[in-house]
Symmetry: C2
Subunit: 189 residues, 2 copies
């Protein structure tokens, strides 16, 4: 097994653990079991738990940025861009996973400062993507907002994060779409 194989296996399994149990609740021992590597060997790839946590957020952020950039570049209209965005959340919930940064936010006061900063950055990035997409949609007369793009962005992100929490607690991933879609439709015109 090459370095990259093991490293990405570690990241994948760690992400699953964090997105179901939270950051504090998962341990190197759990990870060791799942990846089939000794606990001490994990430290070779990620010297501290904080390193691993940060790598987790960085990777997640990067993947999200890629998808958002693709979405921005696509020739879809604003409405369907937003709906696709919502599908990211609905999809991962159907796979039995909370949104990573939603899961991390709950344990925020326990997280090392470096992780807290990244979680904050994550939400800021999402808000700015949403705001820009909304603003463009308005400019192209595809959307009509009642409030400012900033407030509408906050509403959409909150609705998705919150619906994820509710869906997760009720163990019913189907609640996400009925919450999000009407919000987008109400903005579409």
């Amino acid at each position: 097994m090459t370095n990259l194989d093991t490293k990405s296996a570690l990241l994948t399994e760690a992400e699953t653990l964090v997105r179901t149990m939270g950051y504090a609740a998962f341990s190197y021992a759990d990870l060791s079991d799942r990846v089939g590597i000794r606990k001490a060997s994990i430290h070779h790839h990620f010297p501290t738990k904080e390193t691993l946590g940060n790598a987790l957020i960085d990777g997640y952020l990067e993947r999200f940025i890629t998808r958002l950039d693709e979405l921005t570049a696509s020739d879809a209209d604003a409405r369907s861009k937003l709906l696709t965005y919502g599908d990211f959340f609905a999809g991962s919930l159907e796979d039995g996973l909370m949104p990573l940064c939603g899961a991390l936010a709950a344990d925020a006061a326990y997280l090392p400062a470096s992780m807290q900063r990244r979680v904050k950055k994550f939400f800021e990035l999402h808000l700015s993507w949403l705001e820009r997409t909304l603003r463009d949609g308005v400019a192209q007369r595809q959307l009509a907002l009642t409030g400012t793009p900033h407030k509408s962005a906050l509403l959409l992100l909150s609705a998705l994060q919150g619906a994820s929490v509710v869906a997760w607690a009720l163990r019913d991933p189907t609640v996400v779409k009925p919450v999000f879609k009407p919000l987008v439709e109400a903005m579409a015109r």
Copy 2:
């Protein structure tokens, strides 16, 4: 110090810890420091962490039920009932606390089954209160909904939970109201 004093001090401090750090991250040692009682003595009041966790949710649920009942019984119109409901969330966030069950939901897969059930019940209770309040508001021509009361209830709860997560991560509790209020206003008529 009487039993009740100590017990409620333990519950108060434990609630703060869970609502800022999450359930997995807080320990009997933390609690011991804050309440000024030895770790072993906590076990006299709450034999296991699970007992404490359940007492926490039960107390929180009970307090919420009381407040919701008062709100239902009040002669306020549906719009202001909903706004007051939203203030519960906005208020505790301003005190630097996540909603308890939102915080717990994130660690759900780590929680003992008895706690998972309670968290689920919590969300169901909130949804049914919201749905009933919405339905009554419609019947009295104080509200006009675009979807079903059930879906609108889901939207309001999700928006509040999600706005709490976002507010918590951004360390800006003021985002809750601008998200929630317009939703309620759009339903008021």
